[in-house]
Symmetry: C2
């Protein structure tokens, strides 16, 4: 095997992950074959399998990458000192979610990962781990509450519910949903 630079490896990996994400968004995880991804990535079969031996490896890499970016954004929005008012922080969090929904559409892959995680114990563990890390961010947002862990879980739940309703039910947007959160929280938040 010829020696290749780290930069080249990273670019190839990027090329494959982007192609896989496009395929999963368009056709679904189960309806996408490795052949589809290889074709979309424009690589040879041999080159491809050196990076990702299986579809599960692909979905794992996409999940880790997407949530990694999400955590960075959440930290930027909510990790400031002193903690922003809850209503303001949730507005920023909804905007982050909305970019995953109507922007790069990664949220559509997330829903597929959820379904797959219920069936594949290894992926289930990965999802539990990364969502625990996301939930921890919401717990930080809720430090002023009497029970930050419980309130954090509820705040995270709010956002998951927003993603699901945007994707599956429609007739809501971030502004309306945020109004609902503010109304629930009351004037003090």
């Amino acid at each position: 095997m010829p020696r290749v630079s780290d930069q080249h490896l990273a670019a190839r990996r990027r090329q494959i992950l982007d192609a896989a994400a496009r395929c999963f968004i368009a056709d679904g995880f189960h309806q996408t074959s490795m052949q589809d991804v290889i074709r979309a990535a424009g690589l040879s079969v041999g080159a491809f399998y050196r990076y990702f031996p299986s579809k599960t490896d692909l979905i794992r890499a996409i999940a880790e990458e997407t949530v990694g970016e999400l955590l960075v954004e959440l930290d930027a929005a909510a990790g400031v000192e002193p903690a922003p008012p809850l209503a303001e922080a949730m507005r920023q969090v909804l905007d982050i979610a909305e970019r995953r929904i109507s922007g790069d559409q990664r949220a559509r892959i997330a829903v597929q990962v959820w379904a797959e995680a219920l069936r594949d114990p290894e992926l289930g563990e990965l999802v539990a781990d990364i969502y625990q890390r996301v939930r921890d961010r919401f717990t930080l947002l809720a430090t002023r509450a009497a029970n930050p862990e419980a309130v954090g879980a509820v705040l995270f739940g709010l956002v998951q519910g927003y993603v699901l309703q945007r994707l599956l039910v429609g007739k809501i947007d971030a502004t309306m949903y945020h109004e609902g959160i503010v109304a629930l929280l009351g004037p003090g938040a």
Copy 2:
């Protein structure tokens, strides 16, 4: 075809739907073949296909049935006059959700239906329609709020987030989550 009673037809339908639900919960929607369901239902191939020509017909029937039962329960819990305090109503709603999670496990099928709905426009329409009906129940719960529709969407979102975290992340239960809701709502709810 011999004449059969309505009761017989309903019993057969029940037998098939229960078998299909068991298969979908255990192996996932995509990993379950029609052969698997036919075997689990203990029917002949010919008898089976008279009831459900496709896997999509099965999942549609299960989704409609499950949400139909859910609406009845939500109406019983929240549709009373005068409307119960929000915190109390949400406790009952979480209990209803919990029965779908740790009881009959239908919530696991719901997550699969969500993923499938993003890919199959016809199923997507069905899901949008039935979840709109569920969300309308939450809007009724929020009639005292300034913006019942927005608050209803958020309350529904809360419950969806609970289901997802129970299934995918763990380390929460209905009591803790309810405490979080109460803490968020403040003492007035």
